[in-house]
Amino acid sequence: MLKIRSLRSYYESLCILKSVSMHIEKGEIVTLIGANGSGKSTLLNSIVGLMPRVTGSILFEDKEIQKLSSNVIVKLGIALVPEGRELFSPMSVIDNLILGTYPYYRIKNRQTLNERIEWIFDLFPVLGKRKKQLAGTLSGGEQQMLSISRALMSNPKLLLLDEPSVGLAPKIVENIFQTLVELNEKTNLTVFLVEQNVNLALDICQRGYVIETGQIILSGESDELINNKEVLRAYLGKE
């Protein structure tokens, strides 16, 4: 579904990603592990067209997307749940969800929109209860659910998540991850998960990549990564 070949990504003259190659197959949950500043968010931003300069290639369903603008990329079927949620705080839950359909604004009919919102409320019932509440007044966990829901409103084939567990209580994180697994199993949604909670990420993913100073240094099935002493030491705090 997604193939990245020798991607280099720059902030002005500073090269952040150095020859990154990776792939995600349809229906997979793939995780990206790395320390702060290793280039995880830059990779996600590069995929969705938010980086000013990239070289190499990003193919989504065999179509080159590295030069496309973000709204076109969303239309093709990729949605990002950004780090820190990035909600529109003064707007209601419903309005935030409708903004997730922005790329389809002109073609979306009301009925489809309502059906989609109802589907989201089935997925996260708490959002249904708070549909008119301002996003900024939601709890951290609810905000994260809303951020994921907003991304799902565009009906993506590939969902990118940037550290969705940050600052959340373990119980909430567990619920959110459980929902992601259900979505993957029931709707065949492909998930690319950047996560600092490595244990949790390796628990739900099929494969993973390890990034260090802008380079992918390791990849494998989740079992292989758990067996790797370097991963154990550096990211799981075990020897």
Partner: protein, 433 residues
């Protein structure tokens, strides 16, 4: 035959290239950070491992040779600290100092998977009883196949280096269905069966998986006919991982290289220049998943060809021609190059079946001398001396006619020449004398 790992063994070339590129970039990054030899080499040639953008860039890196590995003895080529190594094997040291090869837990898991592919392609299933007659020591053959067979769920008989007569008793009594060993060892088992009057009908054997030394198609046919089994070839070398690098499928038309773990190239052994598909040359392998002992562009010393045409078995991995020659086995006699396979062909034609033989090279009065030691049937020694002399003269005459060389010939009784795994057919005494 079932394909053990359909996902990887049937990847399209495009998908495979993606997997190889990802794994190659990770491997180069790792060796640059972890192996001082590669770190210094990349710096010396001004090669940035993070600049590699396609598989062709691999050619910018010089070859790794056996000599490099010998200089790094024992641990200098390891890419992980020793505490992460869970197993060590070693080369036989036939052609020089032995090499120590380390494996992490993931390396062992990968090797098990690769070995399962070999066994599965030969037709081994969980219903089989497999007798492993490879040594279970520093040599990789025994444990390599053992883990793969267990993964498949077959019943494993680790008979290892038991006496040949005992091997046949085990084979018969335990109802062995699959046998894995060196081909010359299998030929020896056939001889003993004849000697002891054991017929194939008394055995349950149906599959043979042979490797660890170069062997001919004639020998395959002889063993298949003698034991009434299907025999496949497989290839591997300790430095790279052990058995499991490549294997024949049911078509027996070249060995599929597990390209999701190894990137193969063919080069001219003389110039080192890359050769194209179908051209015969030396096999060069780059490991792309090994953690403890990764090798970049390792010259194997084995002569073969690569074929990229589709195989009807469904596997998409490139096939290599069966290795029939090893550069290590090449003998240079008074300036003339020759291989043991040339002698094997001549001897097979004369004797009527592939004999066990050995070539002993020595130097006398500044001239290279060759002695061919050939095992012949015990009956011939009971006959008159004249017959033995005639056979010796016949061999000398044929060798002279084909190779322009007059050797000494010594006929010996069966089982005089030890069938030792991975030992070369050539004993070169020139450097020792």
């Amino acid at each position: 035959m079932p394909i053990w790992n359909e996902k990887y063994e049937t990847l399209s070339r495009k998908e495979l290239t993606q997997v190889q590129l990802e794994r190659l970039q990770q491997t180069l990054s790792r060796v640059y950070r972890r192996v001082s030899y590669y770190h210094n080499l990349f710096n010396k040639i001004d090669f940035d491992p993070f600049e590699i953008s396609d598989l062709g860039d691999l050619r910018k890196i010089p070859y790794t040779t056996k000599e490099t590995l010998r200089l790094a003895y024992p641990y200098d080529m390891f890419a992980v600290p020793l505490r992460e190594v869970v197993r060590m094997h070693s080369t036989s040291g036939t052609t020089g100092q032995p090499l120590v090869v380390g494996y992490t837990k993931n390396d062992i898991d990968h090797w098990t998977e690769l070995s399962a592919r070999v066994l599965s392609a030969a037709g081994v299933t969980k219903d089989d009883i497999i007798q492993i007659c490879f040594p279970y020591g520093l040599f990789t053959g025994g444990l390599g196949f053992h883990y793969g067979a267990e993964k498949i769920g077959a019943s494993v008989i680790p008979s290892s280096e038991a006496d040949m007569e005992d091997q046949i008793i085990i084979m018969k009594d335990y109802r062995t269905t699959a046998l894995t060993c060196a081909p010359s060892y299998a030929a020896g088992l056939c001889d003993i069966m004849v000697e002891k009057g054991v017929t194939p009908a008394e055995l349950s054997l149906r599959i043979g998986l042979f490797g660890a030394e170069p062997w001919s198609e004639t020998l395959r046919k002889e063993i298949e006919d003698h034991l009434s089994i299907s025999v496949t070839d497989n290839y591997g070398l300790t430095e790279v991982i052990g058995p499991g690098v490549s294997f024949e499928c049911e078509n027996k038309n070249g060995l599929h290289i597990s390209e999701d773990h190894f990137i193969p190239e063919i080069i001219s052994p003389e110039t080192g220049n890359p050769l194209g598909p179908g051209e015969q040359g030396e096999l060069v392998l780059t490991t792309i998943t090994k953690e403890a002992y990764p090798l970049i562009r390792y010259r194997t010393g084995d002569l073969t060809q690569l074929f990229y045409e589709e195989c009807s078995c469904g596997r998409t991995f490139v096939r290599m021609k069966r290795v029939f020659e090893r550069l290590d086995d090449m003998i240079i006699l008074n300036g003339q190059n020759m291989f043991p396979s040339q002698f094997e062909k001549i001897l097979t034609n004369i004797i009527g079946k592939t004999p066990n033989f050995q070539l002993v090279v020595d130097r006398k009065e500044n001239l290279d001398k060759l002695e061919i030691q050939v095992e012949v049937s015990g009956d011939i020694f009971d006959d008159e001396m004249k017959k033995l002399t005639e056979l010796e003269l016949h061999i000398i005459k044929e060798v002279k006619a084909h190779l322009n060389l007059v050797p000494d010939v010594r006929l010996v009784e069966p089982r005089t020449i030890k069938k030792d795994m991975k030992k070369s057919r050539v004993i070169d005494l020139r450097n020792k004398s």
